[in-house]
């Protein structure tokens, strides 16, 4: 009967799919391709009401096979993609986008651009929300490619400019690219999302044409709009923009302060700390100490010699001047439970000494001040240093011995 036939057909379809899946997962591309040619039959009698129909499966599997198959070529791939685009209306934009990605990754920028333009002009009935998003992405990527063309023209112009020769046609073309790129890029970065690459390009365009206000607004929006995810890069871009603009220290510091609040372990915290240490204001130097302590809490910073030297510089300054020892105390108090095991164990002393002498020097100084001269880390490193007759380590020992009482005052 027809019902039974349907059932059997479904079963054999599933079995075939399982074989394909198995082959793909074992990188047996040829085997998978053979099975796929059988599976194509399922397109004719598609009884399924599943979310993912056979046409999508064929697209996905076929693409994967063509990526890896030893005898496939770009031409075949493009041919396959064109067929797949016509298979499902709902998926047209998605397939286009993926096709473009593949062309881009293979360096075929011009073909990719053509495909994007083609996809942009595609219309079919009412667009769903997903299709709308895909269309925006297609436009944005076209904008991005326009930006690259613009940038290429710009470089040509700049080179020629040096020769004192300007080409009006090239300049015209460049402005044309600018307009096309700007329109599309501007659109996508209004929508909440992660648009690092688009924002960067758009700001670059605006800066070149001197529209700094617009650039600042875009960056502010990208960093501070609460509908956007808390992307550290948004703050970084803003900070870099402000720096390029030669903004005041205060505005730089406030930009970084926000980054510090979101991501205390960001690598810019070293710059932030240096900036704060140089400040005349007590409050800012205090913040600097907090920033560097907070950064060193993170496992990723454990062996960052730069960060440790920042801390050493500030701690040395405070200890020598004997002023603001309470700052150290406040920072040290919540950490004294776990920093010794986390940073200053004997095992780490040994390893740091073997791997990075200057790191062990910085850490030993901090350990000596915070924990006293009897702490394991300091003792091991200073002994090794003296054994190796390094002058630096002798100085270290002297310094710590002189300021040994400090640790009692800090932890008291």
């Amino acid at each position: 009967s027809s019902h039974e036939h349907k059932l059997n057909f479904k079963k054999s379809k599933e079995a075939c799919l399982n074989y394909i899946q198995d082959a793909l997962l074992q990188k047996q591309w040829k085997r998978a391709a053979e099975f796929l040619t059988c599976y194509v039959e399922s397109l004719e009698k598609d009884y399924s009401r599943e979310r993912v129909g056979p046409s999508e499966m064929i697209w996905r599997i076929g693409t994967e096979i063509l990526w890896h198959h030893s005898q496939s070529s770009m031409k075949e791939f493009s041919c396959f993609m064109e067929q797949m685009k016509t298979l499902g209306v709902k998926r047209y934009l998605k397939v286009c986008l993926e096709h473009v990605f593949h062309l881009l990754c293979n360096g075929q920028i011009d073909e990719a651009y053509q495909n994007l333009s083609l996809a942009e002009s595609w219309r079919f009935g009412e667009q769903t929300a997903i299709q709308d998003k895909e269309m925006k992405l297609i436009q944005a990527y076209r904008g991005l490619l326009d930006y690259y063309s613009w940038s290429k023209q710009k470089n040509i112009l700049l080179e020629h400019g040096e020769d004192g020769f300007s080409d009006l046609a090239v300049e015209q073309e460049m402005h044309g690219y600018f307009r096309k790129a700007a329109v599309n890029l501007k659109e996508i970065i209004k929508i909440p999302g992660v648009w690092d690459i688009f924002v960067k390009c758009y700001v670059d365009l605006l800066e070149f044409y001197g529209d700094h206000n617009e650039a600042r607004q875009v960056l502010n929006e990208y960093a501070y709009n609460s509908k956007f995810p808390a992307n550290p890069n948004a703050h970084v871009y803003l900070y870099q923009f402000l720096k390029r603009q030669g903004e005041s220290k205060n505005s730089l510091i406030s930009a970084l302060k926000i980054l510090h609040d979101i991501v205390p372990s960001h690598e810019l915290m070293i710059d932030f700390n240096t900036m704060l240490q140089k400040s005349k204001k007590r409050k800012k130097r205090r913040l600097g100490l907090e920033v560097i302590f907070a950064a060193l809490d993170y496992a990723g910073w454990k062996e960052n010699a730069k960060a440790w030297s920042c801390l050493v510089r500030q701690v040395k300054q405070i200890v020598s001047s004997e002023k603001h020892l309470d700052w150290i105390k406040q920072e040290w108090n919540p950490r004294k439970e776990w920093w010794p095991a986390f940073h200053f164990s004997r095992y780490l002393a040994k390893r740091n000494w073997q791997e990075n002498k200057s790191l062990s020097y910085e850490k030993a100084l901090v350990a000596g001040i915070l924990l006293g001269k009897d702490c394991k880390y300091f003792k091991y490193v200073s002994r090794q240093g003296c054994k190796a007759q390094l002058k630096r380590f002798r100085m270290l020992k002297k310094f710590v011995n002189r300021h040994d009482p400090v640790h009692l005052r800090i932890s008291g």
Partner: protein, 918 residues
């Protein structure tokens, strides 16, 4: 650690998932996802792009055709966990009931029935004892006075049997008698109130069923690998559960050779619960191993030196089952514990437990699962805690105030409807701020610094939710590898991802790469091309951090069950056992990378619920030539088993693999030998047989004894045997000692003199004669006092006794006489192939003792049958010994007069057998 300068573009939305749920079989294929500019700072040339997925990865190939056992199966058979057939309803009603939405019907009645049958004492104990007198199990009709207080159960039992036979018949009606009885008894017959019992059973059944659908108690896996500290010696330690109840924690040294090999015996600890999870982390050169069972968690410290003994540090117990235990990679002796009630603790060996959160509700939306998880993050004081709806990070210093959302099942991460968190894992060894989250559909990589937005997402297409994951960190030159494993389907998937672009150290590689570029270009392989481009892009970037991208295609590894097809053909029942064993759900997963000069290999261990640890080796293939016909495609013809055939590439590898399998199979069949203990013929202990005084026997040693002793001594020196092993040469059963003044000494003397056989002959004939005499005597007495005799009840018991008697009288001597005279023989082994079958021991002779009502009661013979039996035996004694008849014919011949002598000819044949003297 630097944050990537630019991330892959993505939309960001908030709220519940938009996409419709459901597993998609191929959702992970054929997508690049997004692209990003690869090489910044090069304006002159065309920009290069890298895809989020689809970049080339490392090439790993399985060294063997199947996974190989590492450890021999432990002694004692594994008890398989229940399967759906055990608790689901089977039968005619099934289809009708299944029309409902639930899909599965639990066979509640059968389970309740099992309980009553298996634990009658617990179910009906006291009332059963009280009412013992009021239930009558015989066939006969009850007499008037007894009928008032006694129920005849036989008819009721028949009704039940009939009901059982008609099971599935749509027109079945309960017999009125049964209904009447159940109405009468329902309220008071049961020891435990029926409603309460049913509630408990139902709850347990639902629990079992949900466990069958998805058992999350093994989340995280119960297998850990402790790598050697210096990496020089190839000896690591495998931590795994063992024993029949999986309650032994074993630390087994394993040598990584061509095939990993166990060295020495493991350090074992017996725990008081089944081990659910083993977690390990290395801090300051020491390994800390956390072990979770349902109500206990423990922590062990394993010093880095090889050979140092693991030391247990602390144990905690919980009121509700613990669902998670993770070990801190930052601070020694710190762990995090979650219980099912939603409590999260930070557990420090030094300072004890600190409760961070207690919230029975789930975090982002309501979900019924009590499962909770927690792990560590880049900050040693910040812990993540998870339930099925997402992940949050808590600051242990101020857990109430400081927390942020790391992952939410929702539009933020582009989840599907119905998607749930299955396993979160801190990826600290690869990148200090990265996190892995698996759901039943996808796998996500998250960065703490950019919460809620996954930096990587991929649909893993596994058939079951991945409960196990293992990370093998790469370095700037090599990708990070993540292994995902499922439990019920035993799937293993190897993924590679890169979080960091190749650093400047890579510059050595382009030369190596270029050698292959022309070839691949000629063939136009897109993969090779992509590989070339990305690698060039990588070189130009010079060590800056790049966005996370998936490298290479996912790869399926061998599962334990797959080796079944490679094993030699087994007998069907063996095959079934083996299949059951090998398809047991996986319970853990671990792996290690091994680098030995140019050869890089990966050893993957997989643990099954049966306690088996299997491993497989993958070897790294350096920069790929455009692979000619793939090796594995050729070898996967069904039925072929390259394991047991010599592959040309590794002649010595074959031997070890095949040998390993043979040893494992042999050990398995030894451990799971089928016959249960109680069916073996009982053996007699000599201590019971002879009392001390018996053995002392006649004082002083005769010359015979001296001679004997001498021979014994001589035989022992020569390593021979005193008596040849023969199946028939058995110790005779003890005989009633009252018959002879000192039977032992006569017997021993006879045996030593060599005419033991004769002695036995005499003895048995004597005793038979004597017993026959006694029975005859008795019969005469009974005849005199003859009344109506009842020989009702069942035939079976009398039949047994008859056959035993006839055996004793006819074949008894034949059976008991040794096949050959007992001589001291020094010949070698017993004849080859002689089965170690012992004849069944004889039951004691049915003398007076047998007939006494006392002994009959002891044998469990009901009172009403005792008389029957006695009559029957007395009758038997008169007749001449005759060969026992086959039971079937006897049953039809024997006619049993009912006690009332009202012969209902319809049901019972008329009495015959005049030779019995009736």
């Amino acid at each position: 650690m630097e944050f990537p300068a630019a991330l892959f573009p993505s939309y960001f939305g908030t709220g519940p998932p938009l996409e419709e749920g459901g597993p998609a079989a191929v959702a992970g294929w054929g997508e690049h996802g997004q692209v990003l500019e690869g090489g910044p700072g090069r304006r002159q040339v065309q920009p290069t792009f890298v895809p989020r997925r689809g970049a080339a990865g490392e090439r790993w190939e399985a060294a063997d055709a199947a996974a190989v056992p590492v450890l021999l199966p432990s002694a004692g058979c594994w008890i398989p966990s229940p399967v759906p057939q055990d608790i689901l309803y089977r039968g005619g009603l099934c289809t009708k009931l299944r029309a409902g939405k639930s899909g599965a019907t639990l066979d509640f009645a059968r389970q309740l029935g099992h309980f009553f049958v298996d634990h009658p004492e617990d179910a009906f104990g006291s009332l059963g004892r009280l009412l013992h007198k009021n239930f009558y199990l015989g066939n006969a009709k009850l007499k008037r006075p007894a009928r008032n207080s006694t129920i005849r159960m036989t008819a009721l039992l028949e009704d039940i049997n009939r009901l059982e036979a008609r099971r599935g018949c749509p027109r079945q009606h309960l017999t009125s008698r049964l209904r009447w009885f159940s109405h009468l008894c329902r309220d008071w017959l049961f020891e435990v109130p029926l409603g309460l019992l049913a509630d408990c059973l139902h709850e347990e059944l639902m629990q079992q069923w949900s466990n069958l659908l998805f058992d999350d108690s093994f989340t995280g896996g119960a297998l850990a690998w402790l790598p050697p500290e210096d990496g020089g010696t190839p000896v690591g330690r495998l931590v795994h559960p063992g024993g029949q109840a999986m309650n032994h924690l074993c630390f087994q040294d394993v040598v990584l050779e061509e095939l990993p090999r166990a060295r020495g015996s493991p350090a074992q600890f017996e725990l008081s619960g089944r081990i659910r999870q083993v977690a390990a982390a290395c801090v300051d050169g020491q390994d800390f191993v956390g072990v979770r069972s349902d109500y206990h968690c423990g922590v062990w410290r394993v010093p880095g030196r090889t050979g140092a003994a693991p030391a247990p540090l602390q144990v905690i117990s919980t009121d509700v089952p613990a669902s998670c235990l993770t070990v801190s990679p930052h601070l020694p002796g710190e762990l995090s514990v979650c219980t099912q009630s939603g409590t999260v603790y930070l557990w420090s060996v030094e300072t004890g437990l600190q409760q961070l959160r207690h919230d029975p509700q789930t975090m982002f939306f309501r979900d019924h699962s009590p499962w909770r998880w927690s792990d560590f993050t880049a900050h040693p004081r910040v812990l993540s805690c998870a339930d099925r709806t997402g992940l949050q990070c808590l600051d242990a210093r101020a857990p109430k105030k400081c927390h942020f959302d790391l992952f939410k099942v929702g539009e933020e991460a582009g989840c599907q409807q119905g998607e749930r968190v299955v396993l979160p894992m801190y990826l600290g060894r690869a990148h200090p701020s990265q996190y892995l989250v698996t759901t039943q559909f996808s796998v996500y990589v998250l960065d703490e610094r950019l919460p809620l937005v996954p930096v990587l997402k991929w649909a893993h297409m596994m058939k079951a939710p991945p409960l196990f994951a293992h990370l093998m960190p790469g370095n700037p030159r090599r990708s990070h590898k993540v292994l995902l494993g499922t439990s019920r389907t035993q799937e293993l998937l190897l993924l590679q991802y890169r979080g960091k672009r190749a650093s400047s150290r890579v510059t050595a590689e382009p030369g190596l790469l270029c050698a292959h570029v022309p070839a691949s270009l000629l063939l136009g392989s897109p993969a090779a091309l992509a590989f070339m481009l990305t690698s060039f892009g990588a070189v130009s970037s010079g060590g800056s951090q790049s966005a996370c991208q998936l490298a290479g295609t996912p790869q399926k590894l061998h599962s334990i069950a797959e080796c079944l097809q490679h094993l030699p053909t087994q007998l069907p029942h063996r095959h079934h056992l083996l299949q059951q064993r090998l398809t047991a759900p996986a319970a853990g997963l671990t792996a290690t990378l091994q680098e030995d000069g140019l050869h890089k290999s990966m050893v993957v261990f997989q643990l099954s619920e049966a306690g088996d640890v299997f491993c497989q080796r993958l070897t790294h293939k350096a920069a790929q030539p455009p692979a000619p016909p793939l090796r594995d495609e050729a070898t996967t013809a069904p039925g072929s088993s390259p394991l047991f055939e010599a592959p040309a590439s590794s002649p010595q590898g074959l031997g070890t693999t095949a040998l390993r399998y043979r040893r494992w199979l042999r050990a398995l069949s030894r451990a799971c030998r089928e016959p249960p203990r109680h069916t073996w013929p009982p053996s007699l202990s000599q201590r019971r047989l002879f009392t001390r005084r018996d053995l002392e026997g006649p004082a002083g040693s005769s010359s015979l004894q001296r001679q004997m002793r001498q021979r014994l001594l001589q035989t022992m020196q020569e390593g021979g045997r005193i008596q040849r092993w023969e199946p028939l040469a058995l110790q005779p059963p003890p005989l009633p000692q009252t018959l002879e003044p000192d039977p032992l000494s006569t017997r021993l003397t006879a045996a030593w003199a060599g005419d033991w056989e004769q002695w036995w002959e005499d003895r048995t004939s004597f005793s038979v004669a004597q017993r026959q005499q006694a029975l005859r005597e008795r019969r005469r007495r009974q005849k005199r006092a003859r009344g109506r005799r009842s020989l009702s009840a069942s035939f079976t018991s009398s039949l047994t006794y008859q056959s035993e008697l006839s055996e004793l009288s006819d074949s008894g001597p034949l059976l008991l006489s040794p096949g050959r005279p007992p001589i001291l023989s020094q010949e070698g082994s017993p004849p080859a192939g002689s089965p170690a079958v012992r004849s069944p021991p004889m039951s004691p002779a049915p003398g007076e003792a047998l007939l006494s009502s006392q002994s009959l009661r002891c044998r469990g013979i009901p009172k009403e049958r005792q008389k029957t039996l006695r009559d029957y035996l007395s009758v038997w004694a008169e007749g001449p010994p005759e060969p026992s008849e086959p039971p079937g014919s006897q049953a039809s011949q024997l006619c049993i007069p009912s006690s009332q002598s009202q012969l209902s000819s319809a049901s019972q044949p008329c009495r015959k057998r005049p030779r019995m003297g009736f």
